[in-house]
């Protein structure tokens, strides 16, 4: 069977425009979440992690014309361009596919007069994705995954499957979403927004903090594209499940997330040897509680675990990819990062939540996500 390597990654967030910048900021204990006053978004101040517009405009000016691309498309293009440059992947080859992961795409155009000067069609996710492939001159039509908050992890799993099946040698997975009036008002209407930076798994958690950005990851069967000095890591297994319980609330037992986790572990043939879990951890009361039950059912309650939402906020369709890229950095550097915002456990089952930076050999990692619609996804990265 083919090996699907996880090669170069990029992250664009409030903390930086490369994976390295983001990881260093996290290592220094910085967070991208800030208090924001934007009356066009919400009538009151809120916490969020936003990409810096000045920096974005400056960086994108070197690549293209602002008039031709929406804000999110610019972020996608910058992120993908970094991965192409660092990997040398033949982006124009018939063997290279782009998968875009997003929940809302260019939904902010709804909020602007005359769609910000763009065609109404830009609201369509496939249209947005094809603008990006056109920018890079890619031959293959892009694939778009839009499956709520598991989109990013599902996109990585889909990429692995498409490479296994022999349809492509290289898949660039890029996940992106913006913070907008649309998403902020929606989560606010659910009373799910925290009035302080989010605190995943903590006893005093009050809900989510939204974030925006993009994560891009190259998956390839071509070993020569890997950085020569990097630990070689493969996508070893992946699985998706549904709670079949409620469209906006998670499972009461966590059994379905545990099912996805155990299926992914079976495919990865890693036994129970997981060194690190990058969990979803949105800091809502019900989600974090469900996850604690799921990891307990899966027998992983002692594995060091973090949620990265305290750094990036919840970046929706970007989250799975951004957090996977950080997970891969964690494995390459053998450095565990703390779960930002966590102090005292506020979930019913025991979890081994990381509270400080720690040097430790990390060779097998689990990344999970769960979302509206009752969906759960799990992917395993393993060094070889």
């Amino acid at each position: 069977m083919k090996i699907v390597f996880a090669a170069q990654g990029n992250i664009i967030s409030s903390m930086g425009f490369t994976a390295e910048e983001n990881f260093s900021a996290m290592e220094q204990g910085r967070t991208g979440i800030q208090k924001i006053t934007r009356e066009d978004f919400l009538s009151f101040s809120f916490y969020a992690s936003l990409v810096d517009d000045g920096k974005l405009n400056k960086k994108f000016s070197a690549l293209g014309n602002h008039l031709n691309y929406t804000r999110l498309e610019e972020i996608f293009i910058l992120s993908i361009a970094d991965v192409i440059e660092k990997s040398g992947v033949d982006v124009k080859s018939e063997n290279t596919l782009l998968i875009i992961s997003t929940t809302k795409g260019n939904i902010n155009l709804l909020e602007e007069e005359n769609y910000g000067g763009f065609s109404e069609k830009r609201l369509l996710l496939a249209k947005m994705a094809s603008e990006i492939t056109r920018y890079f001159g890619m031959k293959n039509y892009p694939l778009v995954v839009s499956n709520a908050c598991i989109s990013g992890v599902l996109a990585i799993i889909t990429a692995q499957r498409l490479i296994y099946s022999g349809q492509y040698d290289n898949v660039i997975v890029s996940g992106g979403d913006l913070v907008s009036e649309f998403t902020l008002s929606g989560f606010n209407s659910f009373k799910a927004l925290s009035d302080e930076p989010c605190k995943p798994y903590d006893a005093a958690r009050k809900g989510i903090t939204l974030g925006e950005g993009c994560g891009t990851l190259l998956l390839t069967s071509n070993e020569r594209l890997l950085n020569i000095n990097d630990k070689k890591i493969k996508v070893a297994g992946g699985s998706v499940s549904n709670d079949a319980n409620h469209i906006s609330g998670p499972s009461r037992t966590g059994e379905e997330l545990a099912l996805a986790v155990s299926n992914a572990m079976k495919e990865a043939e890693c036994g129970s040897a997981i060194d690190f879990i990058s969990a979803h951890g949105t800091a809502t009361a019900f989600n974090d509680e469900m996850e604690s039950k799921a990891f307990s059912v899966a027998g992983l309650q002692n594995v060091p675990l973090n949620s990265m939402k305290g750094f990036f906020g919840h970046t929706l369709g970007a989250a799975g990819v951004i957090e996977a890229v950080v997970t891969l950095e964690t494995m390459k550097r053998n450095v565990l990062l703390p779960s930002q915002g966590f102090q005292n456990s506020g979930v019913s089952e025991q979890l081994n939540i990381i509270t400080q930076r720690e040097k430790r050999e990390v060779n097998t990692s689990l990344k999970t996500a769960s979302g509206f619609g009752g969906c759960n996804a799990a992917v395993i990265f393993k060094s070889i």
Partner: protein, 202 residues
């Protein structure tokens, strides 16, 4: 055993067709809401969650009800072995616009929850107790080859025993739903790109 399309159902132009046979036809002047309510009434078994759904979910749900009538896939295959593989063009844009129109006044949480296309998969999973693989993709138009390959791979790699393949599209009163069931069975038409296109177009 080969992987076959064992049954298929479409709703378009105010007509429901199951395995090519028309079950309900209404004039094109009948609005979607009225049409889908008559489809619900025809299907007999009451399900009150239906009335909370947005139009896209109503469409997907009703099509799945006709497709899966007389089948108990969770019992036959095990809940974790039933997979949903859906796609469309407009994601949840129809409801996105409806939701956004409420924001200036009083943002509606009951609409916001439907601003994700995979909520269709959630609704169908809840109704039928499906717990297996589920995925939602967005394309310009119906992509038989992708759906066919992906469903085949799920079954061949034993990630699913059966896959409900769905194309459910709705925007501004323009709508179209096509669902089919792929499973290993001697009674059906082989799941191929051509056959999937043929049934979709039929």
């Amino acid at each position: 055993m080969s992987i076959c399309i064992s049954t298929y159902c479409s709703i378009r132009n105010n007509q429901i067709k199951l395995n090519g046979e028309a079950l309900l036809t209404k004039g094109v002047e009948v609005p979607f809401n009225e049409f889908i309510k008559s489809a619900y009434d025809l299907n007999a078994s009451p399900y009150l969650k239906f009335f909370k759904m947005d139009d896209l979910c109503k469409l997907a749900f009703i099509t799945s009800e006709f497709l899966l009538k007389n089948r108990k896939l969770s019992e036959q295959y095990g809940a974790e072995n039933v997979s949903l593989l859906f796609a469309n063009t407009s994601s949840s844009l129809d409801t996105d616009i409806n939701y956004y129109n409420t924001v200036k006044d009083f943002a509606s949480p009951s609409l916001f929850v439907y601003t994700l296309p995979n909520i269709m998969l959630g609704e169908i999973s809840i109704r039928n107790k499906f717990k297996g693989e589920n995925a939602f993709f967005v394309f310009d138009n119906f992509q038989a080859d992708f759906l066919c390959n992906y469903a085949t791979q799920l079954i061949r790699e034993q990630k699913a025993k059966t896959v409900v393949i769905g194309w459910v599209e709705l925007l501004n009163e323009n709508y179209e739903a096509f669902l089919c069931l792929a499973e290993e069975t001697p009674n059906g038409t082989e799941l191929t790109n051509e056959n999937l296109n043929k049934y979709y177009n039929g």
